[in-house]
């Protein structure tokens, strides 16, 4: 029987992150860790990020409710000794401290002192470019981080600028790495009693998650006809030339003849829509690249006359990994997500909003979503956990 605790139950974490690492703190909090997020008296600036409940900036931020889920909040006045003592007490009581360079509270902390108090402390510091190097002081929100990190140059088309992905997906990557660093260092600390600091530079995190980009640079001479060591942005066309979005009736669909080309050809033969693919010029193994290019053209014609939903389901019934390009409102009513009971109600202040579930399910330590509170109603309890009584 599943136990009613999260996987990270009893792990105490202090969250001093900004956009660059807040997703990592969210992952750990959603896995059941006790994550306390201090904020200034005027409130976490990330509470100002849209969208908002009822589309009203005076209502809670949905952005913050998502990324600061499952936290306990506490406002600290770091202009006072009391506030500084509270922050120091929180750090001394933690197993993991997550820090974004320059974020609230970080200038008031001393890692050496914290490690002396708690030698098993795990300290994760996420910065844009690391602590050394000519760009260490550069500022980089998600767009700029993605530009310098290499993700933006891959995306867009001949008639658009290079594009960022929708959402803060570059910072999702650095957030994930922050969580991985924390859990790996925690494992080591539990095994040995030794804590440590781990540096997480956003720049290298992004560059480590670019699929073909470095491969193309290093091995372009092995990967077919020479196209240079930098691949251009080219809409949805995958670097392999084998995946692309095509227009069908009623919508668009990502089409690929891989991984089973023969199965795709069989489908075209059954539909009597194989065009000239079996002409002798395409049968010569030396002309394989031309054959594949022609196959994609034939597929474009084939797809263009089909209803998009029926085509998608037919493809998947044949184990062809086509993907219907769904707008977000269709994602919101997806039958797979409904069948897996994936959506979860978010309690946000006075509102209850349907929202995303968890990216993974643990059989024994299920996911939980605590109500999101706008203010630091948990502050008293957080301080009591540190041994502060009401008078203090």
């Amino acid at each position: 029987m599943p136990q009613e605790v999260g996987a990270l139950s009893k792990v105490r974490i202090i969250d001093l992150t900004d956009e660059r690492a807040i997703y990592g703190a969210k992952l750990l909090a959603d896995l059941g860790a006790d994550v306390v997020r201090p904020e200034p008296l005027e409130g976490d600036p990330l509470r100002q990020r849209g969208p908002f409940c009822n589309d009203d900036p005076d209502e809670p931020s949905l952005w913050h409710a998502f990324f600061a889920s499952n936290r306990r909040f506490i406002s600290l006045d770091l202009e006072t000794q009391t506030g500084l003592d509270q922050l120091t007490g929180l750090i001394a009581n933690a197993e993991i401290v997550l820090v974004s360079e320059g974020a609230f509270g970080t200038s008031d902390l001393d890692l050496d002192v914290a490690m002396r108090v708690n030698p098993a402390l795990v300290w994760i510091e996420c910065s844009s470019f690391g602590n050394e190097g000519p760009w260490k002081d550069y500022v980089a929100p998600d767009l700029v981080a993605g530009a310098l990190g290499g993700s933006v140059s891959t995306t867009g088309d001949v008639d658009t600028p290079p594009l960022k992905a929708f959402g803060d997906l570059n910072f999702v990557v650095s957030g994930c790495y922050t969580a991985i660093a924390a859990l790996s260092a925690l494992y080591h600390a539990k095994e040995t009693g030794q804590g440590q600091r781990v540096d997480v530079p956003v720049h290298q995190c992004i560059a480590s998650c670019l699929e073909h980009v470095f491969m193309w640079y290093w091995y372009s001479d092995l990967l077919g006809p020479a196209r240079g060591r930098a691949l251009e942005r080219r809409g949805s066309l995958h670097w392999s030339n084998m995946y692309v979005v095509m227009q069908a009736v009623g919508g668009t669909i990502m089409v690929t003849p891989t991984p089973d080309i023969d199965a795709q050809l069989t489908w075209l033969i059954e539909a009597d829509e194989f065009g000239d693919l079996f002409e002798p010029e395409y049968q010569d193994p030396a002309n394989q690249a031309q054959f594949m290019a022609r196959l994609m053209e034939v597929l474009r014609t084939f797809v263009g006359s089909k209803d998009v939903e029926a085509l998608f389901l037919e493809a998947q019934s044949r184990h062809a990994p086509y993907g219907w390009v769904l707008p977000i409102e269709k994602v919101g009513e997806n039958p797979q997500l409904e069948a897996r009971d994936w959506w979860h109600p978010y309690s946000i202040g006075e509102h209850v909003v349907k929202g995303p579930g968890t990216p993974y399910r643990f059989s024994q330590t299920p996911w939980q979503m605590k109500p999101y509170v706008e203010t630091d109603v948990d502050a008293k309890r957080v301080l009591q956990d540190l041994g502060w009584d009401n008078d203090r």
């Binding site: 990270l8 700029v144 991985i180 491969m215 251009e232 942005r233 990502m254 994602v331």
Partner: protein, 403 residues
């Protein structure tokens, strides 16, 4: 010593998402045993394919032909000794190989069993076949990444495979921590589709709270009044090839940064128009604002724009391609992020890698072992994990189940 030394991972993954998850664990010192076979080692699963070399370093290679009963028995014995068993095959494949969760957990109650399927275990789409472009399309990422009126752009690389791999690593490590408390292992059902949909969290909450369906926003922030926030063309293209174009991203996140940008641009007359005084005004006049900034950047080198802006505290960065990253990025160079493996690949020769982007102060992760050929570590793995002597290993190889 690296932080995850002592953790034993049995790796039944292929392509990118699963191998990337286990690459992370291997980089941090876990003993990752990659299961492959001569029969399956084709195309991008071939050990000399550049794609395979990108994701399978720091792993030992064991050959098991899982169509053979003896290989299935060995596979089950290995699972009995693993801390983590992970796969990203379609639902049911490991069950057919005799190493499904029910069988494995019966002999190893402490096992962390991670299944990274495309659609998750169960549901009407659970048998669907997916690659990252499929997930991007179905999750809304393709529809939303682009410009107004286009539904055919999407993310230009397999982002969700990396995201799934990162989430897979988080899940494995969290389950190991849970085992420390409970003494029990568990099954983790990771749906790559649900990873992708989850990434649209705020937009989904907006949909259900406000009834507003997000639409492609180009480089603009869909919910926040921030402008300018775009990529702008620069001088210096070396040819007419799109790949050689030069661009710079500029993002003024505050009025102060906008005022600084005006100063860096030399206070052009157009920038003094009252409409640009506030973020709301700049967003309302965004097309004209972007045109004017683009005229300025087009006269300049992208690096020069970046350096001048950053010196004034304005977020700006060259839109770097692979050549920029590998040859011109001083930060990448200073951090020694890119590396060449000491030992060449037996078939394709020199191979390369990007280092783990994490610096541990006490347990540095600076060991990098080249991708191993199918079965290259049969003897050491079977000895270390099962105590098998070399004679039995050779016997299995000759009999065709360790190949």
């Amino acid at each position: 010593m690296r932080p995850l030394e002592g953790i034993k991972v049995l790796d039944f993954t292929h392509v990118l998402a699963g191998p990337f998850a286990t690459r992370l664990l291997g980089d941090m010192g876990a003993d990752v045993v990659k299961i492959n076979s001569i029969a399956r080692a084709t195309a991008i699963n071939a050990t000399n394919n550049p794609y395979y070399t990108m994701w399978n370093r720091n792993k030992r290679a064991l050959a098991l032909d899982m169509s053979r009963d003896e290989a299935k028995r060995i596979g089950k014995d290995l699972c009995a000794r693993a801390d983590v068993v992970i796969d990203n095959f379609s639902v049911g494949v490991l069950d057919r190989w005799g190493v499904g969760y029910d069988l494995v957990s019966a002999v190893n109650p402490e096992v962390i069993y991670v299944q990274m399927s495309g659609m998750g275990q169960g549901g009407p789409w659970s048998d669907f076949v997916t690659y990252a472009p499929t997930i991007h399309a179905l999750s809304g990422l393709t529809h939303l990444t682009g410009v107004e009126g286009r539904q055919d752009i999407g993310i230009g690389f397999s982002y969700n495979d990396h995201a799934a791999g990162l989430h897979g690593a988080v899940a494995m490590l969290a389950a190991i921590q849970a085992r420390r408390l409970t003494g029990k292992g568990q099954r983790v059902d990771l749906s790559q589709f649900e990873v992708g949909v989850n990434l649209l969290g705020p937009a989904l909450l907006d949909l259900f709270s406000n009834g507003r369906a997000a639409r492609p926003a180009g480089n603009r922030l869909p919910y926040d009044e921030v402008a300018p926030h775009n990529c702008y063309p620069c001088a210096g293209a070396t040819s007419d090839d799109i790949a050689d174009e030069r661009w710079v991203a500029i993002a003024c996140m505050s009025d102060d940064q906008w005022q600084e940008l005006c100063r860096v641009m030399g206070e052009p007359e157009w920038s003094s128009a009252p409409v640009y005084d506030t973020a709301a005004g700049r967003v309302a006049a965004i097309d004209e604002l972007d045109r004017q900034i683009g005229r300025w950047t087009a006269q300049l080198d992208a690096v020069e724009v970046m350096v001048r802006c950053q010196a004034a505290g304005i977020p700006a960065g060259v839109v770097q391609n692979s050549i920029d990253l590998a040859e011109n990025d001083p930060q990448i160079a200073a951090s020694d992020f890119l590396m060449t493996f000491d030992e060449p690949n037996p078939v394709i020769g020199t191979t390369y890698g990007d280092r783990l982007p994490l610096t541990f102060s006490l347990t540095p992760c600076d060991t990098y072992t080249r991708v191993r050929d199918v079965g290259e570590d049969n003897a050491s793995v079977l000895s270390d994990w099962l105590g098998m002597d070399n004679e039995d290993v050779v016997k299995g190889e000759n009999a065709g189940y360790f190949v």
